[in-house]
Amino acid sequence: MATTTRRRTVELPDHPDFLWVADQKPKKSYDVIIIGAGGHGLATAYYLAKNHAITNVAVIEKGWLAGGNMGRNTTIIRSNYLWDESTGIYDHSLKLWENLEEEVGYEMFFSQRGVMTLAHSVSDVRSKRRNFYANHVNAVDSVWLTPEEVKEIAPIVNISEDIRYPVMGATFQPRGGIAKHDWVAWGYAKAAADMGVDIIQNCEVTGFNIVNGKVQGIKTTQGDIAANKVGMVAAGHTSVLADMAGFDVPLQSRPLQALVSELNEQVLDTVIMSGAVHVYVSQAHKGELVMGAGTDSYNSYAQRGGFHVIEHQLAAACELFPIFERAHMLRTWGGIVDIAPDASPIIGLTPVENLFINSGWGTGGFKATPGSGWVMAATIASGEPDTLAKPYALDRFTSGHLIDEHGAAGVAH
């Protein structure tokens, strides 16, 4: 399917006609069913096949492949979190990103252009410095930048002291960057499908078949499907699934919005985030500015949020990047993120035997796609939590071993 659209700065390969069987129907039974064909679900299926030789696998999707948060995020990749547990899983993920395109044999436009996180107040500087030292202890690449150094890397940033949110410094992770999220999903889907995984779209889960506390399969809009093991990788809809399976999860579903501008000349060759003013921005390969806002305050499954949240975000963006003032925004959209009380994911076993959970990635799941799939596959294959996943067990809310990443999570909740 050749396209005649003029491309600005990068030649994207033509999309192949198909990567997986488009109208796959479910078989009667599988060894493993993954619920959710987003990035994490597809990555889980890929690593089940690749690392554990489990290929009798179905990925069930109520909508279309990568039509949820996987197609709605701002594609930022980094691993400079505060706590050891976070570094474990996010940096493992980043290492997987670094070889992913070659491994799956599919272009993903992974670009390590660096991720900068701005600090705007004395307390912001202190907490970012703490983060920076923690990254050093954990051997994660991290640089502290003065405002002048920020300006050197990204000349369009306004470092004047006389603005509402002056730049007082920044952390910078050179290995961070972006990737093209839909290509990531397609790459995983193609590679998994090539190894025998069924990808079944338009198939919504309506219930679980649970006998004596053990999952036997799922009920769907395309009929019952038996499975030895089931993995829930449904992001914002995890609570809905957990309700069906009869257990509680400490998650709240909220809208998170993003927006994109028309194509511009390249003005920004790194990623800039600011948790304090709810701005994170990068410039995609073709030239559009991709920006994210903060979450809306209320519970929702509507995949849209309030315009005042966008307005608030753009006000701060225009002050920090005066050159953006005349950029035209093309589209805004919302995804439904599942936020845990400590802003960290929930991965592992559930009260139902052979039913596994991978959720709570909140506002920052995209970067973790490979690592999340890797540990989820290992957990499902062995029936025991993977080493990196162990701290993220559901029972941490009873034991009190929370992994508080509100400070490093980038987006304020």
Binding site: H237, S239, V240, D243, D248, V249, P250, L251, Q252, S253, S297, Y298, N299, S300, Y301, A302, G306, F307, H308, P341, F397, T398, S399, G400
Partner: protein, 93 residues
């Protein structure tokens, strides 16, 4: 932007309010006897329904009072709002 029906002031813009999450979560009785599991449930578990939900808002930039309201999380439609300690109206569902 939501148009939120404050039971004291009438419908106002969302930016005048702050969200208070699930309504009717009472402090547990016999709190000194609770198990860790029961504490976890009280502290961390809140309902997250896809559909009608009774929730709390505070009209921060208006009357500054807390109230409860039914709202549908699928389409953001509001049901009846009501004052704390008053009889909860039935779910519009």
């Amino acid at each position: 932007m939501l148009h939120i029906p404050c039971p004291y002031c009438g419908p106002r813009d969302e930016t005048e309010f702050h969200y208070g999450s699930e309504a009717h979560v009472g402090y547990p009785e016999n709190s000194s006897n609770l198990t860790d599991e029961e504490w976890a449930k009280f502290v961390f578990i809140r309902s997250n329904p896809k559909g009608w939900m009774a929730e709390r808002w505070v009209h921060s930039a208006g009357c500054r009072r807390w109230f409860n309201v039914w709202r549908n999380t699928i389409n953001h439609e509001f049901g009846p709002s009501y004052k704390p300690f008053s009889q909860q109206p039935k779910s519009p569902a």
